[in-house]
Amino acid sequence: MQQIILNILISSSLYLLVALSFSLIYYTTKFFNIALAALIVFGSYFVYLFSVQLNFPFLFAVILSVLIVIILGILNELLVFYHLRKKSVSSLKYFIASLGLYVILQNCVSLYFGDDSKVINNTEVLVGNKIFSVYITNIQLLTLFISSVLFISINLVLQKTKIGKSIRAVESNVNLCKIYGINEERIILISVCLSSFLAAIVGILSAFDTNMSPTFGFNLLLYGLVVIIIGGIGSTKGLISGSLLISSVQHFSAYYIDSKWMDLVTYIILISFLILKPLGFSGKRLRKVEI
């Protein structure tokens, strides 16, 4: 039982990071960027390329791949989404464009590395450290630590610093920001950097814990999306409770029913939320137009 609770904490911390990275882009641009899934995949595959195939020192490989992912995120923004925004297209078209971008990037990874699953973590599997009668591997410990530190610090940045306040200002009213002289494009770029950074970290952490394949980012991102819809965008408490709910439902259904029904249960939760409580935990409006 304690082991299940621990596993719930670990996977919910990953979902929390994905959801945070997703909502950072949503704050400023108001659309769901599916291409983030490709950035998650890129993060882990670059680590694989540098540390396993090219034998770079590990820490260096991680830093290098995080940097490359951030650059990729900025390129996506500058080459595609910036122009879409200038045309002020509907969020639907944004979504489809980001879907297309995801398909392109994911297949680039498949082309270069192949579709089979890869393992970064080539150290032998440890039994794990035993703490209070539960087993936890070093990677899982690191996952818990890094994700909580990142989540808290990004939220502090959003709440306390000038940049964070500008991001929230752009979220609530773009036109007013322009009047007050906040450069909205610069703020969007900063939030894209932050969210690509988080995506890369999520990819690396989850690839270390389990195997990776070119499509694992998409599943992870969809869970993040479910967390956002359940929790409500822009609400820290909502995100935390959403990710806890989703991962506990997944682990309990895996334990009591069968692990193969995890996805089904997750999306049934999503749909029942859309019926019963369409505004999420936080009560923020999901619909953009009320008819």
Partner: protein, 292 residues
């Protein structure tokens, strides 16, 4: 020659899929990522009915259409509470639920093992197990569906759908039931999507869940977008293009393993290009024609 016929049959399947999605996506603005799910429901209904109960094509087809329509009706009641990108995500969730049932409900669908030994179609004592008769049957069905959709497009109901995608609030204010119209168009689109599923199951005689994944849904959606939203003949040409693209790549000398990924990269690029230029489909991308 056999292979060319095989490709043309697949063009028929994807034409029906794309044109039926076009009714919901192009006319009513309901971009759905659950279409491969309804395609799969058609195929699985056929497989289960004909293998376990030994029923024939003429019973399978209406059954598949009814089941797919019922599921789509219930789903649309839920999904249409949301709009735009939330609607897409909702349909994505439904697609994953349908796939998960196909992949995991071992007793009913045999999961990843798939269902083999589906008998081929028998039309009035005339077996359709060769390529050519099957092709003729598919073309007849494509033509029928094309006609049906064209009539829906030109009917008063089609006009309401177009009006909804242009200005939802206005059309509501003149007293049309927007919610009902959306539900009807989504349900009709799912009913039509189950037909190629029935044909596919009888044609290949073996089905497994990997033919009905999220990627398949994205593929069908991109056919619709490449062909142009609301453009029936565009959907047909785009389906032909997308089915023939891997063959063209192989013709250039690209190995199979790369061609599959290259095809996806190419359609991803087209999707992004069509969205960025704001044109409706590839035709307008090259002809520089604006439609009003």
């Amino acid at each position: 020659m056999e292979y060319i016929l095989h490709l043309i049959i697949f063009i028929c399947f994807y034409t029906i899929l794309a044109q039926s999605l076009n009714l919901a996506a192009g006319k009513a603005g309901l971009i759905s990522l659950a279409h491969a799910g309804f395609y799969g429901i058609g195929a699985y209904t056929t497989a289960i009915l004909s293998v376990k109960l030994g029923l024939s094509f003429w019973i399978n087809l209406p059954f598949a259409m009814i089941i797919s329509g019922l599921i789509a009706f219930v789903v649309s009641l839920i999904a249409l509470r949301t709009i735009d990108d939330y609607f897409i995500i909702c349909t994505l969730g439904i697609q994953i639920i349908i796939f998960s049932i196909m992949n995991n409900w071992m007793d009913l669908t045999r999961g990843p093992l798939g269902i083999p030994g589906i008998p081929s179609i028998n039309l009035f004592g005339f077996p359709v197990d060769e390529k050519i008769p099957f092709l003729v049957l598919s073309i007849v069905i494509v033509a029928l569906i094309w006609l049906v959709l064209k009539n829906i497009y030109n009917s008063g109901f089609g006009k309401i759908l177009v009006a909804i995608s242009e200005d939802e609030i206005y059309i509501q204010s003149v007293g049309k039931n927007v919610y009902k119209a959306k539900i009807i168009s989504f349900t009709i689109s799912a009913i039509l999507a189950s037909i190629p599923g029935v044909l596919y199951a009888h044609y290949i005689t073996y089905i497994d869940p990997t033919s009905f994944t999220v990627n398949e849904s994205i593929f069908i959606l991109s056919i619709v977008i490449i062909g142009g939203l609301g453009n029936l003949s565009g959907s047909f040409f785009a389906a032909a293009f997308m089915v023939l693209l891997p063959e063209a790549l192989r013709f250039v000398g690209m190995p199979d393993s790369i061609a599959a990924n290259m095809r996806q990269i190419i359609y991803g690029l087209i999707l992004v290009a069509v969205m960025m230029t704001g044109k409706n489909g590839v035709k307008e991308l090259f002809l520089k024609k604006h439609s009003f």
